[in-house]
């Protein structure tokens, strides 16, 4: 596998270092050739930067891509927002040579050049396409058979599709496939592709943000899932922090929230501590407890085979 640069983004490094820990632990455990580059800035974030100055949004995104291009590296990011923003910048500039020229004229002033060639992937499609199920399975010590998990894609993992081109934008499959590779059931639910709504928290509309979080959490509670899994720091903020806030006010959902690499890491045999699960606001304990119970039970296949053996034995003696 070709070496790649990780684009962590502001939110993970500033607010959720434990998510960084989880991602690093899994990437190192699997021996993935990643590199930390110096000099990245904010991707930049769409709602706060693009809504004020589209030109600066393009320029900043192009500079970040140029940094990786100078090293001949592709970018992989555990943040859907970062990947979506960088990809949208790349596709807008590649489609418009005049704009690309203007951007490069400015970048030239700081010794950079945006080619628009670097591959930009989100961690989940990257694991699906580049790492692959076989390598994932061979790294696993345990699986999640018997566990019911709700997959939350997060809008910007695959949208806008003209920029990301990595999955069906309205019926994506890759995250589900990975969760099934880990042995869990991916529980279908009607709010599966619904936007988390965290963006509202960035524009002073906290109550509306909570309202959106509630819609999904209520459904997941009713469907009695054991956890939800996502791979975006904004979605994490929305469902872990905001769920916790609502629980403090007496609304109980009890839906543990995992990053994709948390599940991956647990399956690889890392402990909850090593993955920083104790730093999640919503208690992951019930999930871990059930998992232990389920995995110490003989599987239904073993039970069936044993019963068959007993029956055949009895028949032999007739």
């Amino acid at each position: 596998m070709k070496e790649f640069a990780v684009f962590w983004g502001c939110t993970i490094q500033a607010r959720f270092p434990f998510l960084e820990k989880s991602v690093r632990t899994v990437m190192e455990g699997m021996g993935l050739p990643y590199r930390d580059l110096s000099g990245f800035t904010c991707c930049p974030e769409k709602s706060l930067v693009n809504n004020v100055d589209h030109g600066l949004w393009l320029l900043t995104g192009a500079r970040n891509v140029a940094l990786a291009e100078a090293e001949g590296l592709n970018i992989v990011s555990p943040c859907t927002g970062c990947v979506s923003n960088l990809s949208t910048v790349k596709s807008e500039l590649n489609a418009d040579p005049r704009k690309k020229g203007e951007v490069n004229a400015l970048l030239n002033g700081v010794g950079r050049r945006f080619e628009g060639r670097a591959g930009l992937s989100h961690l989940v499609p990257f694991f699906h396409d580049e790492v692959g199920a076989q390598r994932i399975r061979s790294a696993m010590k345990k699986d999640f058979k018997g566990m019911r998990v709700a997959v939350h894609y997060g809008c910007h993992m695959m949208r806008p599709s003209h920029a990301l081109k990595n999955d069906d934008p309205l019926e994506p499959k890759k995250f589900d496939n990975l969760v099934r590779t880990l042995g869990a059931e991916s529980v279908d639910h009607s709010t599966k592709l619904m936007c988390c709504g965290q963006g509202l928290d960035r524009v002073d509309q906290h109550d509306t943000a909570l309202h959106m979080a509630r819609l999904k959490l209520r459904e997941l509670k009713n469907r009695a899932v054991d956890a939800m899994v996502l791979c975006c720091p904004s979605c994490f903020l929305q469902f872990d922090n905001n769920q916790h806030l609502m629980e403090k006010e007496g609304e109980r959902f009890g839906v543990p929230v995992f990053y994709f690499t948390d599940l991956m890491g647990l399956a690889m045999g890392y402990t909850a501590d090593e993955l920083g699960l104790g730093l999640h606001r919503v208690d992951a304990g019930p999930f871990l407890k059930k998992w232990e119970e389920v995995s110490s039970r003989p599987s239904s296949r073993t039970a069936f085979e044993e019963e068959m053996r007993a029956v055949t034995f009895a028949m032999d003696r007739l």
Partner: protein, 150 residues
């Protein structure tokens, strides 16, 4: 005023369609949120009345409308244009102002959490690109001023 950023032909077709209303999470769940009304006003030259509306900030930029749209255009283009317009008038939410200020000062929306990272045994974060970013920002502002003066 908005014709530099919006394609009015597509918007005109959009005003006769409305199909994506039913996949828009904000349309379905936030009272009073309805890009159809905004688009109608934009086409009638009345977009100004939305500049101060809380609704233009309730578009989640989730791109559901874009993906579902037969023009691959989407409500979101109208809403983004309205946000740029509101911002130009200084009517953007305080949090957006704060985020922007931090971005143009540091190139980031938050600095790596040093203490938490250390506790977790994480390596030193990559050096920030702040210096180079600020230099680039200066060049950008000069170029912008130059082209406005022309």
């Amino acid at each position: 005023m908005l014709d530099g950023v919006l394609n009015f032909d597509l918007l005109d077709k959009c005003s006769k369609c409305g199909a994506c209303f039913d996949v828009c999470p904000s349309c379905l769940n936030i009272e009073g949120y309805d890009p159809r009304a905004v688009i109608k006003d934009i086409l009638a030259g009345q977009s100004g009345r939305w500049a101060s509306s809380i609704h233009v900030w309730q578009c989640l930029e989730c791109h559901q409308c874009l993906e579902m749209c037969y023009q691959h255009y989407g409500f979101e283009n109208a809403m983004t244009a309205m946000r740029l317009y509101a911002t130009a008038k200084g009517m953007h939410p305080p949090q957006v102002k704060r985020g922007w200020d931090m971005f143009v000062k540091t190139g980031r929306l938050g600095e790596p959490a040093a203490a938490g990272r250390k506790k977790l045994g994480l390596p030193e974060p990559g050096e920030s690109g702040k210096e180079e970013f600020l230099k680039l920002l200066k060049l950008y502002r000069e170029a912008k001023k130059g082209s406005q003066a022309q």
